[in-house]
Structures are given as structure tokens and as C-alpha cells.
Point group: C3
């Protein structure tokens, strides 16, 4: 497809949108607004890049109505240019269909059911009792434990680990090194030391979820850890046992959720943010980067913690005062009273 | 065992505790206080859940003396119900014994000594000079480097990496994706760029330790990185070179310890907390989530840093003032003087 | 080499530096200043350890001119003792040369070009179209995707994943579990849910870079994610799509950089620090541990955020006041005006 290319007019039909331009070039790939050439499409979604529109050499720009008049090359006018770009760009992605079948070096234990239209990569392991749906691809070196259920058209990438009994929906993407279903961190302290609390629940991942590289999602202690449909997790996120994450919530890299916390639908969790255990976050809550959420949030909106960036010198001067803040406030209260 | 079940009275004998109840049902599994059925046991350790006791349908509740009078079903009365639960629930955990032996797809190099009562999983690698004790299970895809020593009855899960020379005690559990013994981050800066400082120490993991999924423990630069016995590390923790962690200390997910720091015994380190290098933390110190420990702590107790969660609007108003805190404090000092 | 040992005088010649001492012992290994014996070398770079010099039993101490007079054993006098130590200690590192060749259990797809002087470890996967240079070692269980290019003399350790099309320079070290080239976190929100934005860029890693265990470096959305030469990343770092990191920059464990941020040359990023997306950091900037960088930094220097460590009791008292800081500042302004 990307070899022979596709005309701008055909892409417009595919998107169900209007196109404008003096010519109808063949598009063979994608590029940035500054680098795309005459056979590449690009998009304009961020106002910061508007200044590059006049000089773009792209064959096609996907943009909003307001920018269309200034576009020197063919364009598709979209209500949400980034969404339209995401849809049209997918056809230029490399890779393409993986041939179904089990690689001869993979180990598929007796009692595993692999759909003939699924693909199991080199040196992957599929243990007994596991079912893998049609169109699903298991990458090289992935380990799929016993009694796992994976739906259709999933991409389980290289070196992913799915532990015993994990349940994965359809069209789920799991990136390399992610571990789904390891034991939660359950400990009881007796006189002699820690006693491990058996982690007897599972993990359920809904349809259309995406899980980033080296992210970990622990199995529940008694009931399941749950990601509802279309949850999107970036890399190196930690989801503890019995967490529940609502549909369409997206979490940025290195964020973490402690045990039994419940996050609503359509939430956005910033990078490196932490959410303590046993609390609830309402739908449509945004948490900014590296914020620690220490109590339940009942109302939609944006929440933050932390202090602003400063030169280390200024930071030190102010930080000393932070240690004395209560005293300072008491002094002010006294002064106010005495006034 | 869980098929045929075990009577409440037998579980009480096993726990060495008293049981009460009008009947002595067979228990075949575990469940939460709200979901457990008549052949399942549950526990009541958290007062929040006390209100569910009256309506529980569980076959057995493990609880404290104070709650026993209100229990509508058979119960075992325990001084620490969670500890008793942890001990009794272990018998209902799935999996059970793994058959010993080396999977035909595993690569065990000549010169490795694998006890006949150990199990090496599919596509695992065990390099030369390594010794693996009886009852230890090496999971699928795990890589055990040369000259490693692993004790008895360990569970080294799928895709764990143990680098050259690492020493692991008995009954240690290491979850998928963990990396033990990679090079520490040792660099010296010369004119032309960084020079790697050879990392010539090892890693010693004591008996009964547990290490979470995708956690990393680096080898020492000259001497060893050490986890004493019964240290419990959650997922995605980073332990740098030459760190020492005292017995019975537990660290929650995503916490990190920089090089040559020393943490005492019986400490609790919260999720996402950071401990800088070359400092010492006394025994029985608790660090709250996402706190940065910037100096040694000599006294037991609880320590914190960070700011409280606020709506982003309030946070912005206050954050501006944080940048001016030193000026504010000086103004107050002047007002106080002038008074 | 370490068996037979090497004389202090020979090490001095190798370092191009002067040595002093009453004897010229054979050195067979390295140790700390307190533990090294008569056939081991050590170094003194940190003043804190100066007090141990008088009692050291080492066969050789590498130290600065000022300390040399007090050294009771042979010494090499170096302008930067740590750099000289790093260079000389390398010869005592274990391991040594790996025999070239492809392990019989590895899967090397047709169309991959592996230099005869490269070594592919047990159960590694090398996909089609990939080129691996002379002297490079691919560790056990590593997965090298299609169309990857790896230069000469690299160490790609156990269970590393290199995704399709990644480009690695010469002498690069990548530690176990790292994932290079997984999809960036690109999402567009449409009515029905998230749409994945294809990640069509690659990753380029310059010569002499080192990447820590379980670190992740995502591929670009359109253009490449780039690490220039001699960038040093510790463990569990997250580098998002389209980030650029300048030469000789070093980042400590668990730090993270969000999409399209650009970091200068010779920067030092502390452990757990976060850098938000689409900003620029100048050359020679130092960021302290767990700082959040929320805007571009134009000037070299040291920058921080966060609050100082306190006992939890003091922290609570002050944290309450943080929530009221804007009100406090307004009260002070009013008092000042009324004065």
C-alpha cells in the first residue's frame, strides 16, 4: 500500500471529509510539518506549529477549518485533525500482518488451545490450559502462563509475561517486558517476620486496552484486579492488587496505583503520579505529573501537589522556611490579633 | 486438598486456635467477607469491613475476640486475624508442587549443578558454574548467569535475570522480570567523556526475601549489595550498588535507594519514596509515600516530605507563594520587630 | 591476568603516572580501602575515607598528591584518582572475552547478518534484516527485532528487547530487561474512545552509551528518539517518544522524560526526577533527585523542587499551612500596608 501510494482524494473519502487543493498527489507515507515531502501527509493540531504551514512541502496536510485558507498544499479539513491523522496514518505503519502459526522454536504445552489464525513467535512459551484467539500475535520470548485467556486480534509483544489465569479481552496491545498477574504485595507481620498472604485473585484486562513496556499489573488478593475497556497505560506503570481502573482512563509513564484503589472513567493520570491504596477517584479527574493523591477525589477536575521548580539556591532558601511554616503562620496570626 | 475440603475444626487445630459455631462445614477456598460462600473462609481484620459481618455467608470467618460475638457463622478467634488468615489461606493457593526436572527446551550449560529435586522451566537458561538447590523452581524464560548460587525451595519466576555470581538464600521468591546483579551505575568523568567504573562486587539475597516484578538490584562496585533475611520488595523498585537493607524491612512499589545507602531492620518504605546515596536509616523507620530522604535518620519514627493534594487552582495560587516564601518570612520578621 | 598479577610499577606505566613505595608488589585484584589486602589495589577519591589511609593493608592506593605523603603502602599519584582507578580496575573485571558464534539454541532468522566475530547467546532471537557488528555480544534470551542495526563491540545483555528498526552505535552497553523502541504513548481521543496514533519513528543510540536494567526508550511518533554519544542511563528510566538527549548527559535511576523534551549535553539528572514534555533543557544543567521540571531551562546551573524531609508530625503541621499559604501571604501584605 505504501509502495504504490494512495491519492489525497481517496484518503478524504476514507475519512469522510472534504479535501482542497490544486492537485491530487499520491501519498506514500507520513512526516512532520517541517520534514514531510510531496508524497507524505502531515497534520496541524498544535498552534505552536502553525508558523510552519506556509513553508511545508507535504503532499497533504490534515488541519482545521481556520488554518485551511493559509495552506499552500493540498489539505483535508477535519473537526479534530489529530484524530483524523491517527486514523489515516495507521495504513502507513510498517509491519503489517503476521503469518499465523506456531514458530517451531516456541513451546506450546499440551492442553493449550491456539487458534489456527493466531501466531506464536520464536521461543515463546504457552502453558497448559491457555486459550489464544484468532488474529492474536504472541511475540518472541513471551511467556504465557497456564489457564490464561487471550481474545482476538491482540498483540502480545516480545518478552511479555502473562501469569496464571490472566484474562485479556480483544484487540489488546501489551508492549515488551510488561508483567501481568504477578503476585500482589500482601504481607502480614507475625513475631518471627513477614508471612506471605496468598494472592488468589486474578487480572482482567478489557477490550482495546494498551499496556506499556515494563509496566506491571498485579493479580488480586481475593478478587480480581480490573482494567475496564480502552484503558491506556504507558511504560513502567505499577498497578497493585485489587485496583480497578475505569474505561478510557489514560495513565502516563511511571505512575503508580496502590492496592484496592479505584479510579474512575475518562481520567488522565500524569507521569510519575502516585495514588495511595483504598481510595476512590471520580470520573473525569486529571492528576498532574508527580502528584501524590492521598485521599479520595469525589469531584471531576484537575488536582496537583508538589512545589514549583527553582534554582537550587532559591529552592534552599525557601525550603528552610517550609520547615518553619507553622511557626510563621502562628506569628502572623498573633500580629493580626495584636494589630 | 481444595477439592475435598477441610473442616473448620481441623483448620482451628492447624492454627492452634479456638473455633466457635453451630456447625463444622467443609472449607474448599477463600473469599472476601461479602462474596465468600458456605464452603469458603474469610477474615475480618479491618474495622471498615465490620459492618459486613452480620450478612456474611462465609463458611468460616477468622476474626478477633471482640467481633466473635456478632459472627453469624462459624469463626476462628485469633489474636491477629490477618496473620492466621495468611497461614491458613496458603493451603488453598493454586499451582502446588511443580514436578522436578529440567524441561527439554531449557539450556543448562555443562558445569551447572542442578539438584535433582529442582525444576528448570521451558526455555530457561542456566549457565556454567551455577548451583541450584532442592525444591527450587526456575520459571520459563528465566536467565541464570554463571556462578550463581540459589538455595533450597526458591521460586525464581518467569523471565527473571540473575547475573553472574549472584547469591540467593533459601525460600526466596523473585517475581517475573526482576533483574538481580546488573552493573551498578559507576562512572568517572574524564576530559573525553564518561569512563565506566568496573562493578566487581556481587549481590547477596538473604533467606525468605521476596522481590517484586521488574524490580532491579544492582551488583556492588567493590563489595556486595546486600538484602538481609526476610526483606520484602514490591514491584519496580530500584536498589543501587552497595546498598544494604536490614532484615524484615518492606518497601512498596516504585521506591528507590541510591548507592551505598544503608537501611535498618524493620523499616517500612512507602511507594515511590527515594533514598539518596551514602546515608544511613535507623531500625524501625517508616517513610511515607513519595518522600525523598536526603539525610541520615538516626531515630525510629515516621518521616515525610512533599505537599498536600489540592485542586490545581488552589495549588497554583499557593505554589506562587512558595517561590516567595523566604521573602514572606523576612517580611513577617520585620513586622514582628517593628511591632 | 588477575591470576598471575601485575606489578605496581607496570600499572603506573600503563596509567602514565608516577608511583611511590618501598616495594613493588604484584596486584591481582581490587578492594575497598578498608578491606583490600596486599595483592589488591584501592583508591582514595572521597575525603570521608581519608581517615582509613593510615591503616590500609592494600598493595596499592591510587590517590591525589596531597594524600600521598601519608600513604603507608605503595601508591600511584593521580590528578583524578577515580578516573585512574576506573581505567586500571577494568583489567581485573571478570568475564573477559566471549567466544564468537551463534549458540545452537538461538533463533537467527534468514536475512539477518551476524558478523562472524559477534556472539549470540542461548535462546536469543535475531529477526530478519538485522545487522550485528564484530565483537558485539547478544546475551541469553535477548530479542532483537527485524531491521535493527547494532555496531561493533556492544554488550546487549540478557533479556534485552530491541524493537524493529532500532539503531545502536559502537561500544554500547544495554543491561538486562531494557526495552528500546517500543511504541510511544500516542493517543487521540474521539467520541468512542482512544485512537492509537501510529508510532512510525525509530530510536537512535549513539556510540558509547550505556542503558540500565529495565529502562525503556520509546520509538518516535514521526521522527526518531535520539540519544547522542556517551549518554549514560541508570536503571528503570523512561524516555518517551521523540526525546533527544545530548552527549555525555547522565541520568540516575527512575528518572523520566516525557515526549519531545530535549535535554542538553553534559547534564546530570537526579534519581526519580521528571521532565515534562515539549520543553528544552540547556547544556550543563543539574537536576536534583525527585525534582519535577515543568518548564524549559535556558541557563546552566542546579535546579530543584520538593520539600525537605521532616518527622511526619512536623510535616503534618506545616503541610496544613501549605494549603493556606496564599491566604497567609495576603494577610502579611495587609499587615504590612496597615503598618
Amino acid at each position: 500500500m505504501s509502495e504504490s501510494g494512495i491519492r489525497v482524494s481517496e484518503l478524504a473519502v476514507e475519512a469522510g471529509l472534504e479535501w482542497r487543493g490544486a492537485s491530487d498527489p499520491l501519498i506514500r507515507g507520513v512526516g512532520t510539518i517541517t520534514a514531510a515531502g510531496p508524497d507524505q501527509l502531515t497534520f496541524l493540531a498544535n498552534k505552536t506549529y502553525r508558523r510552519h504551514l506556509a513553508t511545508t512541502r507535504a503532499g497533504l496536510v490534515i488541519l482545521g477549518e481556520d488554518a485551511a485558507v493559509d495552506c499552500p498544499v493540498p489539505c483535508i479539513v477535519a473537526p479534530d485533525p489529530y484524530v483524523t491523522y491517527a486514523r489515516l496514518a495507521a495504513r502507513f505503519a510498517g509491519g503489517g500482518a503476521v503469518a499465523p502459526g506456531v514458530h517451531p522454536s516456541a513451546v506450546v504445552e499440551a492442553g493449550a488451545e491456539v487458534d489456527p489464525a493466531a501466531a506464536i513467535g520464536p521461543l515463546a512459551v504457552v502453558e497448559a490450559g491457555t486459550r489464544i484467539g484468532a488474529g492474536t500475535v504472541i511475540g518472541p520470548g513471551a511467556c504465557v502462563g497456564p489457564d490464561v485467556v487471550i481474545g482476538r486480534d491482540c498483540r502480545i509483544e516480545a518478552r511479555v509475561t502473562l501469569c496464571a489465569g490472566v484474562r485479556i479481552g480483544d484487540r489488546v496491545i501489551i508492549h515488551p517486558g510488561a508483567v501481568i498477574g504477578a503476585d500482589g504485595f500482601g504481607l502480614a507481620f507475625a513475631e518471627a517476620g513477614w508471612i506471605k498472604v496468598p494472592q488468589l485473585g486474578g487480572v482482567r484486562i478489557g477490550d482495546d486496552c494498551e499496556i506499556g513496556a515494563n509496566t506491571t499489573v498485579d493479580r488480586g488478593a481475593l478478587e480480581d484486579t480490573v482494567l475496564e475497556e480502552d484503558v491506556r497505560l504507558d511504560n513502567q506503570i505499577q498497578i497493585a492488587h485489587n485496583v480497578r481502573i475505569g474505561a478510557h482512563t489514560a495513565m502516563a509513564g511511571c505512575s503508580a496505583v496502590a492496592g484496592s484503589a479505584s479510579i474512575g472513567r475518562h481520567c488522565l493520570i500524569g507521569g510519575g503520579a502516585g495514588i495511595i491504596g483504598h481510595i476512590e477517584i471520580a470520573d473525569r479527574v486529571t492528576i498532574t505529573a508527580m502528584t501524590l493523591v492521598t485521599h479520595s477525589i469525589r469531584e471531576p477536575g484537575e488536582y496537583s501537589s508538589g512545589t514549583p521548580l527553582q534554582s537550587n539556591r532559591d529552592w534552599r532558601r525557601n525550603a528552610v522556611r517550609l520547615r518553619q511554616l507553622d511557626d510563621l503562620a502562628k506569628t502572623v496570626a498573633r500580629l493580626k490579633k495584636e494589630r
